[in-house]
Structures are given as structure tokens and as C-alpha cells.
Amino acid sequence: MHADTGFQSRKAAALAAFEGLASEPGVPKPDPILVVDNVVRRFGGLTAVDVAHLEVQRGSITALIGPNGAGKTTFFNQLTGFDTADAGEWTFNGRKMSGVPAYKVARQGMVRTFQLTKALSKLTVVENMRLGAQRQRGENFFAGLIPQLWRGQESLITSEAEELLTRFKLIAKRDDFAGSLSGGQRKLLEMARALMGNPELVMLDEPMAGVNPALTQSLLGHVKNLREEGMTVLFVEHDMDMVRDISDWVIVMAQGAVIAEGPPHTIMSDPRVIDAYLGAHHDAPLSAEEAEQQLHEAEAELTAEADQTGMDGNSRKESGDERG
């Protein structure tokens, strides 16, 4: 549905916005949709997130990368109201979002997906999709009792859902339980479902993790499409090839802080980034302090993993093991 020229122009516009920006953490963007200030989240003695300043450019695809345990998921959780930050403020479209509960954040147009896919297994695929639609009259108990009040809206929602399912190649699975889908299809469903709410900012936590290579290409295509439709995408990804392929701008986190930002083709040569990534795979002999710090980190990680209440305390299992 998008002409090639349109495709090019959105991407070009996004790239133009980043033209000449300094590769400094927290560099101001021309038209930020999300502005974050001094967000801190501690788990006991561990500072999982400590972001001084961050802006996300509207209409762009921004990648958030960083070694495992850098705090990317925790940062997502703070921004989307799934976890309470110890400190900090952030605004979405100029509106203050800190302290706003998760469901209100989503209603404002800032939706997220989860690193561990949350398909609602015992709902059919199309019911999953319908659930994503906002302002449904039938979601009120009393109105729900009178089908006449919501049937019309429901069929509009259903055709919207079918359109998205067709686009995401899930239409054949329309009436199957979501639990019967493959891992990659669940990721697709979760993304499609998030789009039912017509979000402005889509935050994807490792959308490609665990997806087989045949599906990654189509997932990448869908992510690019979101930008073409005017949405802003902020996504976490490990695979640098994919990041280079689809992102307009890259933000690098390490140990809770944003350590660098920049265009995808140069960011990996930034010494701070090399440090952050190589730091995790240290070949050189460790100093005593470093060894001790790594020990502490490993311990913290183990406790986090044991803690079942965490948002995705054991999510690292799925996403590989850069930290080694």
C-alpha cells in the first residue's frame, strides 16, 4: 500500500532529522516524542537503570542496544508504568508520564511488547486482536449485556483485526488458539495486537528473539512499515546486522546508563561501545576489583533470576548470553 517513494521519503525524513547530531548520550533531537530525565531504578544494591537524559525522535526507528543486563527491559518497564522508578520524570508528547499506571500509558498511545511473548494462549488469534482495540463500549459490564450497543463497533474492530492479520500473514490462524502458534507467530501476533490500539510510539522488547530466520525478514518489514505509517518505534535488539538494517538511530546502554548514541553504521566503532561490549567478554586478565565486581554482578543476576515476581527476571535465558 506504500509506494516506494513514500517509503524512501519517511526513511529519508527520519535520517535527515538525525543529520549532524552529536554522538553524545542524551543529545537533543529536533522533534522528540519521548523525553526522559534522570530515571533511576535500583534493585537492592544494584542500580539497574540510571538514565540522565534521553530523547527519542518522532517518526524514527530507534534501536536500544546494550549487553545483557544493561537495564534495557527495566528501562522499558519504567517508561511504560509496569514498574515504579525510584526517581525521574519523562514526558510523552509533552505530557508527563512518570507515575502514570501502565494501562493509561497504553491508552495515551505508548504501547509496548514483552521480551517474553505474552500471547493470550486460550483466546483465539482474532480475540487477541480484538482485545487490543481501545474505547470499546462492550467492555463495560452493563453495556456488555446488551449486544445491540456494541455489535457494530465489534464488527468494525473485527475487520480492522482481519486486515492486520492478513498483513502479518496470520489470517489463516484467525480462529486458532493463540497458544497453538509458533514462537515467531506469537511475536507477530503480539505486535499486531499492539497496533490495534493505534499507538504513536511502539516499544518492542527483543521482537526478533527466538524467531526463526524465515520470519525475521517479515518481522523486519513490519517494523519498517510502522515508521512508514507515521509511528515511532523504539526497539531492543541484539543482532547488529538487524539494527543496522532497520534503525535510523541507535542508543547504547551499559550498566543502567546510556553511554553513547549515534547512527547505526558508525555506532559500533565508538570506543565507548566497544568497551561496553568487550567489557562483557573480557579477554585480558581481570584486576582484583573487576573480578570482584563481576562476581557481585553475577550474584545479583542470580538473585534476580530466582525472583519469580520480576517482570522478566529470567528473560536473559531467551536472549542469548553475551555476558558469558
Binding site: 505474552k118 493470550l120 449485556l145
Partner: protein, 330 residues
Amino acid sequence: MDWFLIFSRAFEAGIGSEAIIYCLAAIGLNVQFGYTGLLNFGQAAFLAVGAYSIATTVATFGLPFFLGVGIGLVLSVLLALLLGIPTLRLRADYLAIVTIAAAEIVRIIVRSVALKDTFGGTDGLQEFAHSFYALNVFPAGQYSILGGFIGFDHRGMWVLLVGWVLVALVSVILLFAMKSPWGRVLKAIREDEDAVRALGKNVFSYKMQALVIGGVIGAVAGFIFALSRSSAQPDLYSTELTFFAYTVLILGGAARILGPIVGAALFWFLMIFVKTGLEEAINKQVITFLNVNQVGAIQYMIIGLGLILLLIFRPQGIFGDKREIALDAR
């Protein structure tokens, strides 16, 4: 052995007031647990609130019967809010712990010596059901159903009529509710509440609604409990009642409208079938190694064994969807 007696007793129990009471209690749990995934282990408290609201209003304070009904409904809403506000934002098990404790607290309050003048202590309250039976549409007498196979007196008939009409009414309302987008949100919360939050739904509010609706239905079960016996006795509202209601729900199939209805009828049919059957067998010397006093214990063993077998061979209950259970194993 008098098989006619055994079957007619069992059938009477299967459609009788126990079946109605446990059916309504289980319908309430179905909204909370079956559809929303909330573990309310204090359903007995909601029945007690219903029963004692009528009993206290009429017997203690001499106020009108229907005021008691109204008070029961309002108090059950308040109890649900009281239990839900501190716990529904926390992990699922907190609600279970708080509700099981709350049910005991309610029972201990109504049986306390200090409040004997209000709630009647361990004897409970009587003399409050006149207004209910005054509305009876059945003239005094015995009524036989199915050509004399089973029978009830006019009071029993009135309880059955009112009770099953209430069951039907509540079930139809829930049928519509669960087919609506509202019901879809509940089922989604049962699966994964964070996913539902991420889609912009106020999960806390929906869980609270489920708790309130299930609790109100529990109070209605309590009305029938008290009225059918013309008596409200504290120790009938013990945790055992809640667990039997869960048994009924799981037997019939959770998250199915017909689940609690069939579950309750079957549960009480089997309970009395086994009990009367054993008693008959002992009395007629068919079974000689047991005596009548042991029937109560054996009855529960047999029913328990049956339930275990059911869960092994048909874990989804009678009406459950096997495909859904299969998904859990993935």
C-alpha cells in the same frame, strides 16, 4: 436393596436446595476463578453475609424481609471491596490468603458470645423466613414429581422454584456478560494480566468487578441457604463450604456457564446416592463389614476417589474444553 429409594433420594438431592446453594456459590466462584483467575477461598463469608443479613434484619431488628435482602447485597459488595482493595494489586496468592482468613473472621464474629444478642451465637438465628414463605405460590400439601418418583412439600417447592429461577437468571446474565467484550477482558486477565495492562485495560477495576459480582452471587446463595432452612447457623459457613463449591465448579467445568449447574446437581446426586446406597446395603446386610456410623466417612472417600479419577481422565471437568487444557501442557 431398595433401588427406588436410593435413586429418588439422589434425584431429590440433585435438584434440591443443597444443589441450588452450591450451584450459586460455584457460579460466583466461576466468575472469579473460572473466568478471571482470582482465587477467592472465602466464598463462605459471602454466603454468611447473605444469610445473616436477612436473619439479623428480620429476627433481631424486626425490619422488613426485603430490606434484609437489600442489606445483604450491599454488604456483599462492601466485603468484596474490602477484600479486593488491598490485595488485587498484589500477586494472586494474596487474595487467597486474605479471603480464607476473612471467611473465618466473619464466621467467628457471627458465632461470638459478645454478639449473641445480635447474631444468636452458635445457635444462630431463626424466625425470619415467614415473609418469604408468605409469598409461596404453592398451596400447602405434598407435591410429587415424575409420577411420585420424587416429592417435596409446598415449602420445598417454593424454595426450588425461587432458587432455580435465580440460577437461571444469573446464568443468562453471565452468558451475555461472558460473550461480550467485557468477558473477553476477564478471560485475558486470567491468562496474563500484564498483557492486558499493556493493551490499555484497567486490570484492577476488572478484577474488582469480578470479585464483587461473584461475591453478590455468593450472597444470593446465602439467602437461599438461610431461607430453605429457616435458620442461619454460623458453623454451616465454614471453609468446607467454599471447598465444596470449588469441587462443584471443577466437576462441572470452570469457565463454562453450565459447569456449576451440572456440577452441583451431579455432586449432590452422587453424594446422596453413595450415602443412601451404603446405608441401604448395610441395612439389608449386603455389606456386612461396615456399620451405618461409618457411612459418612466412606461416602467422602468414595466421592474423593471419583473426583481424583475425573481429574485424571477428564481434567477439564464435564463441560470444559479439552483443547484449552492441552495448551497448558505446552
